[in-house]
């Protein structure tokens, strides 16, 4: 390969590295105060018919050890026939967040199976849920206010008003 081709290739790759680095920094979730994040997400969700879950419920529904997580909050519907749910977790590491995300996906699948056939509204709500991981944070919300919840969550983590998944 000729010298000038190598030189241009190196230069282009270095420029690409710098541009990519900037994009990654811009698109990466910030480490935020969990209390504030929790308060903002709770405000966006209607919690009137929901109850806060404890470590036992976290284990039962998600097979997660509360002690291993940095911070978490769980709300489930008070009524057995309702599927509204909120799980917000700050994990000890992004890798642990991957496991929590998987647990949230499993929970959603289980709930869909539970209501399939006789609870079309519940299934519709479950299918419209938000499950996402951003860095060490995981959000799982089943609600008719999904877009507000996402907005509040993204606003805190990305310090922006943008929406979308």
């Amino acid at each position: 390969m000729k010298d000038w081709i190598l030189r241009i290739a190196k230069l282009l790759l270095l420029v690409l590295l710098a541009a990519g680095g900037l994009l990654v920094v811009k698109g990466t979730a910030r480490q935020v105060d969990f209390g504030k994040l929790q308060a903002d997400v709770e405000k966006a969700m209607d919690l009137s018919d929901m109850k806060q879950g404890d470590a036992r419920m976290l284990r039962r529904f998600y097979d997660l050890n509360a002690g291993e997580l940095a911070h978490w909050v769980l709300y489930t519907a008070s009524d057995n026939m309702a599927v509204e749910e909120l799980l917000l977790v700050e994990c000890a590491s992004p890798e642990q967040a991957e496991q929590v995300l998987e647990a949230a996906r499993n929970r959603k699948e289980t709930q869909v199976k539970n209501f399939e056939g006789y609870g079309p509204e519940q299934v519709q709500l479950l299918n419209g849920c938000v499950i996402r991981r951003d860095g060490s944070y995981v959000l799982f919300a089943v609600s008719d206010r999904v877009s507000d919840i996402k907005k509040a969550y993204r606003k805190d983590l990305f310090q922006t008003e943008r929406t979308g998944s």
Binding site: L6, G20, V24, V25, D63, G67, E68, E98, N106, S136
Partner: protein, 467 residues
Amino acid sequence: MVFSSIVFLFAFLPPVLAVYYLAPGKLRNLVLLLASLIFYAWGEPVYCLLMGYSILWNYVMGLDIARQQEKGKRGKGSLALGVAVDLLILGFFKYYGFLAQNLEALLSVKLPALSLSLPIGLSFYTFQSISYLADVYRGKAKSQKNLISFGLYISMFPQLVAGPIVQYADVDAQLQSREMSRSRFGEGVRYFVVGLGKKVLLANNLGVMYREITALSSLSVLSAWLGVLAYTFQIYFDFSGYSDMAIGLGKMLGFEFQPNFRYPYWATSVTDFWRRWHISLSSWFREYVYIPLGGNRVSTGRHIFNLLVVWACTGLWHGASWNFVVWGLYYGLLLILEKYVLNRLGKGKKGKLPVVGRFYTLVLVMIGWVFFFSPNLQAAGTYLGLLVGQGAVGVVDGASLYYLTTGAVLFLLAALGSTPLPGALWRRLQESDWWDVLTVTGYLVIFLLAVAYLIHDTYNPFLYFRF
């Protein structure tokens, strides 16, 4: 995607093997490269871009080093630039948070607190990239002109996400041509099935026990030791199982990778342990850090310094946290102690008391794992305290007896499996008349049991992914 998953076993591997074997020889590297990209993209497709970048960057820099050398220069500047960018990428994704935290604590310099994810396998393929550049620079290998072959070296799915870390010079020739035969394929299948069994049947069950014990609100001394023993076996069967699967897949595809483990818990000293544990990582550090620093052909003081640097780096490679640094330095100090004190004291007695050596090594390794599994140094200190009774609820309690009795068979199997004994027994059975039937039945049983576990159990972590 992980090897120990139904998707990999039944939806990914069979078609990849079929297409690979049906493809003409010239296209096999391309088939394998595409399969590797699909494998990698399965979890987080976005990081495929990063790996693609790494492939392109190191490919260009390898050519650049070769070009410099053609012109009579050494290519040191190109090597330095190539390695610097590799380390910059690794450093950013793996150590940014650690650096930001420590800069803020030490110098009150505040960097934006980013919640970055570590791209799977980044630590492994970055080390392979550096190995390539260094081998080209030192003339151990020629620069790779074929981008597909080079891309395959970096991304080959059997060893992409968790090693073994393949040094370029070892695999250079195999990238051009490799021997594929039925016997090698069969050997690969055997390796793979044994690895799958180690991972799914032993490591996962030991992992459940470790998780349950450490989740207890209070621990007795015995519980604490059982917890660390469960982790000790879990991490070995988890990682060596994955390495066996990687080596087996390599063989199925015609590649020969070096063994990554050689019964490390059978080691008679800590020095011996590190000749048997994660061999590809130790070899990498020896080849590309320790020897360039001067190795042991220097003064005692400088040698000790070299060892501490290598072991601090080894610790840091495992994770961006002080407890990994302490874990690495802990081994550095033990190795210095063995080399400069114990070996001199025990001159002539070496190898005469292997049982004592094995016990001493195992206890020290178990203590080391406490730093490894703890989230921080404070938690490690608390757990180490429990091991000697500080903060423990007595020496023995109901929970410890429960885990001791219910886990006895598992511990026994794990202990036996950590020694060369099953292998020796297996070799002896090879001489019997009913060997063929026994082999097929044995491997089939392991495979079916592992699949049954994968279908039934949801707990299937892989510890070394986070490195």
